[in-house]
């Protein structure tokens, strides 16, 4: 038991270092992650963070008042996000096969889970801001400044996400930019479909991908 705890702590420390690397030196970090083929610990940690977020958002949206509704909400968030994640990795894998470049499914899973970091940060911060400064924003000077700052924050996380997506393709499938653009067309179509379905079902207004 003590060994397992020490191992978990060690892996968590390494995960923290890689997560910081994804922000500071994404290329080198992703390269290193792609070479550690059988390490699924980061995926486990990111899954735990995602579960914590779903619990948190469930509480914000439904409160403690209705535990049954809270459980249903939590389960629907987990299920939809899992389908989105597994769908993305499978899509990359299959499209990779289609263009005759077979990446390892495990490597793609780990790389794509790191790309959930900007997603998690955006969703966590947005949820917290929803509590601290509930919308809608007004047309006052403070409202405008806040809106510009919030949009700038969202764009910077999208930028980070795009970099991590590109690196997932580059190191997961070992393909060059032309093929990455080709795969991206399929990915955008999948993303659009996932966004529409999860919105219609009332699970995510913005897809958790």
């Amino acid at each position: 038991m003590a060994d397992f705890l020490i191992k978990t702590l060690r892996q968590f420390f390494l995960f923290g270092r890689s997560a910081a690397g994804c922000l500071n030196n994404p290329y080198i970090t992703y390269r290193k992650i792609a070479l550690e083929k059988n390490n699924l610990w980061p995926t486990a940690f990111i899954t735990l963070f995602s579960l914590a977020y779903f619990e948190f958002t469930g509480l914000i949206r439904t409160g403690f008042g209705n535990p049954i509704f809270l459980t249903v909400k939590f389960n629907s968030l987990v299920l939809t996000a899992s389908i989105g994640f597994i769908g993305c990795v499978s899509l990359f894998y299959l499209l990779g096969k289609l263009i005759k470049k077979t990446g390892s499914f495990k490597t793609l899973t780990v790389l794509w889970s790191y790309s959930l970091l900007p997603t998690l940060v955006w969703f966590f911060v947005t949820s917290c801001l929803y509590l601290i400064l509930p919308p809608p924003r007004t047309m006052s000077i403070l409202g405008k400044i806040y809106s510009v700052a919030y949009i700038a924050f969202s764009i910077s996380l999208l930028y980070w996400k795009i970099i991590l997506y590109y690196l997932t393709m580059r190191f997961g499938l070992k393909i060059e930019i032309g093929r990455i653009i080709l795969i991206s067309v399929g990915f955008v179509a999948y993303l659009g479909l996932f966004a529409i379905i999860s919105y219609r079902l009332g699970v995510f207004r913005i897809p958790f991908i």
Partner: protein, 77 residues
């Protein structure tokens, strides 16, 4: 020779080239090679500049719509 730093860097670079196909985007290759290092190392610097500039430009172009967009996104979690 194995202690030589330049040699080690060359070997490291050789492994990198062997692992990934080289990028070629035709006419845009020089531009690509110029932009990519900014994304590889400390991309948060360029992210900050680009996002703030884009947000201010969007505000100038869209005005009140941007404020409404921010509200909409805040409901989007």
């Amino acid at each position: 020779m194995k202690e030589d730093k330049t040699y080690q860097l060359l070997v490291q670079r050789m492994h990198e080239v062997a692992l990934l196909p080289t990028q070629n985007v035709g006419f845009f290759t020089p531009l690509y090679k110029k932009i990519v290092p900014k994304l590889k190392f400390s991309p948060w610097k360029s992210a900050t500049v680009i996002s703030v500039t884009a947000a201010v430009c969007l505000y100038i172009m869209l005005g009140a719509i941007l404020v409404r967009l921010a509200s909409l996104l805040q409901f989007g979690f």
